[in-house]
């Protein structure tokens, strides 16, 4: 069992590194791996190649790694906390909450005659997404304390998403073409919109979220048995909830803010990790899901560049079969 775990970690790491390099070669202009390497190392390469690799593709690949890991870890935490295999930032409406925040910011601010620039704008988008995600999470948590039925929580998440969709449409309807276009492109999900300035905000936020998730590993393991058992084993349930919510808000909120709503990854990847590692221990699952998330999003990014399609269409098409498989296998979830 130990060797299987070690082997899987090695394989996933290798896959991540390989896909990371491939991701740098793929794009509007195909750049051979040798030149990519040269550009990265500061060796002999055309100035344009160096620019493309370093300023565009490297940034995008780093974002893919961070976003993939962040979404997978937030999904894993949600699934354990709500003891629900179908929980995830997207299904529970947390991504929608973040979207609403961003919609208010991108569409609402111009309506009010406010327009931010550069760093202020990125901070505004992130802040709005965090607020939106945290608000939805708070409501879901409050309801789930009273109502234990998984179905109700899922339906609630769907209703939130629909409600948010309606509000966003109203905002879109009222908005001018320019803001509208910016928002529509944002909703398609893109790893490429992240500038170096935004990366400086995204990376620390994701790192902090992941650190909080690591701090929650033992509580999450105890929560496998449910809240009651966890409490009788000395767990401070309120602190744990706060910790996990803060972590999830940072992870899912930040990624949604800068990359748009990337669906299904947070829901599906934890299941992939469980399937691979055949282990329920979060000391294994958490790094496993993070790595798998990075691998999956890098892969999706490569495919989306090949087909020149938005990345969230690829994650959805890839994620849906996994989710269907989980539902079919887990007939007893309700």
């Amino acid at each position: 069992m130990r060797s299987r775990t070690a082997l899987l970690f090695a394989a996933l790491t290798l896959a991540a590194v390989a896909l990371f390099l491939i991701d740098l070669t793929v794009g509007a202009v195909a750049i051979p791996l040798r030149e990519v390497w040269a550009a990265l190392r500061g060796g002999e390469a055309a100035a344009a190649t160096v620019k493309i690799v370093r300023d565009i593709r490297l940034l995008k690949a780093v974002v893919a790694v961070a976003a993939g890991a962040a979404l997978a870890v937030s999904g894993l935490q949600m699934q354990t906390l709500f003891r629900n295999p179908l929980a995830g930032p997207y299904v529970l409406g947390i991504s929608s909450g973040a979207s609403l925040g961003v919609a208010f910011f991108i569409l609402g601010a111009p309506l009010l005659g406010l327009a931010g620039h550069g760093a202020l704008a990125s901070l505004g988008i992130a802040g709005a997404a965090w607020l939106g995600a945290a608000a939805i999470l708070a409501v879901i948590a409050a309801v789930s304390r009273r109502i234990k039925d998984i179905l109700v929580i899922l339906i609630l998440g769907m209703m939130f998403s629909s409600g948010v969709g309606a509000v966003v449409q109203i905002l879109q309807y009222l908005s001018r073409e320019e803001a509208l276009k910016a928002f529509v492109i944002w909703t398609m999900g893109s790893l490429g919109d992240v500038t170096a300035a935004r990366l400086a905000l995204l990376l620390p936020a994701v790192a902090l979220g992941l650190a909080l998730a690591v701090a929650a590993v033992k509580p999450l393991n105890l929560l496998l048995l449910g809240e009651q058992y966890a409490r009788t084993m000395g767990l401070d349930i309120r602190r744990t909830r706060q910790l996990v919510f803060l972590s999830t808000t940072l992870l899912a909120g930040t990624v949604t803010a800068f990359c748009g709503p990337i669906g299904f990854l947070g829901l599906a990847v934890p299941h992939v990790a469980r399937m691979l590692f055949r282990n329920a221990d979060h000391r294994v699952l958490l790094p496993g899901a993070a790595l798998a998330g990075a691998v999956v999003l890098l892969g999706c990014d490569i495919v989306s560049k090949w087909l020149t399609l938005p990345v969230n269409t690829i994650t959805a098409l890839l994620g849906i079969p996994i989710v269907v498989w989980v539902v079919v296998r887990n007939k007893s979830i309700c």
């Binding site: 590993v217 048995l225 449910g226 009788t232 084993m233 000395g234 282990n279 329920a280 221990d281």
Partner: protein, 252 residues
């Protein structure tokens, strides 16, 4: 040792137990019996620190429950709930190891001593051979034993169990209760479990705690049989209690 001092418990507007006092010493197995909805679970949950106490107080091993911090409480009392635990990919050994949570560090690192406690706990409940099995591939009786091993791994002087026999077949019910009796006697634990099996309660336990709302009566089994309380509480038009045999008969 569990000591109730004028304990009052309620649920919503109802008072279930009113100023109840009792003492359950170490090294005894006590069955908690009573009709549906009389507060067996409420009492167990309150003793485990999960439910509210309306009045009076609970002393666990001499310490007041409400003055015991959660970590300390987890080293004093272990609880096995009615919930059936079915977690895919969770091996028995890892589940029992969760019982070491009050003793391990922030990430739950197991020391050699912790592993030894886990192995011993699995051995005590006769599940040592199942250590590497996952929970979703075990019968109800087996998983119940593993949950008890988890409680043992917590190394608490007090263990509470809420209807541990409810999903088990007849031989398994008796085996489980004999196991509990052995643990109480050999490891000097104070074990209290709720049950609807009056015959088990009256034949295998050291004491029987009967909830006769809003009172609690704690008596040895033979005295409980003679007291006539069981007939009064559980007897009906269809069944009557046979005081000489200690079991119920259908009225004809």
């Amino acid at each position: 040792m569990i000591r109730l001092e004028a304990l009052t418990l309620g649920y919503g507007p109802r008072t279930l137990l009113d100023a109840v006092s009792a003492e359950l010493p170490a090294g005894t197995l006590t069955a908690l019996i009573g009709r549906n909805g009389t507060g067996k679970s409420t009492l167990l949950r309150a003793l485990a620190g999960l439910g509210p106490v309306r009045g009076g107080r609970v002393l666990l091993d001499g310490r007041p429950l409400d003055a015991t911090p959660p970590q300390e409480l987890a080293r004093t009392v272990a609880f096995v709930t009615t919930e059936r635990v079915r977690i895919a990919d969770l091996r028995c050994r890892d589940l029992v190891a969760l019982g070491r949570a009050p003793y391990t560090n922030w990430i739950g690192r197991m020391q050699a001593e912790d592993s030894a406690v886990v192995a011993h706990a699995l051995d005590r409940v006769g599940m040592a051979d199942y250590a590497d099995r996952t929970l979703d591939r075990m019968s109800d009786g087996e998983s119940q034993r593993v949950m008890i091993a988890r409680a043992l791994a917590q190394q608490t002087p007090i263990i509470l169990l809420d209807e541990p026999t409810s999903f088990l077949d007849l031989p398994n019910r008796y085996e489980l209760c004999t196991l509990l009796a052995r643990l109480a006697h050999e490891e000097r634990k104070c074990i209290l479990f709720s049950t609807h099996e009056l015959d088990i309660a009256l034949s295998l336990c050291d004491a029987v705690a009967l909830i006769d709302p809003p009172q609690l009566h704690l008596l040895p089994p033979d005295e409980m049989i003679r007291s006539g309380r069981i007939e009064r509480l559980f007897g009906s038009d269809t069944v009557r209690f046979d005081t000489s045999g200690g079991f119920f008969r259908i009225r004809r």
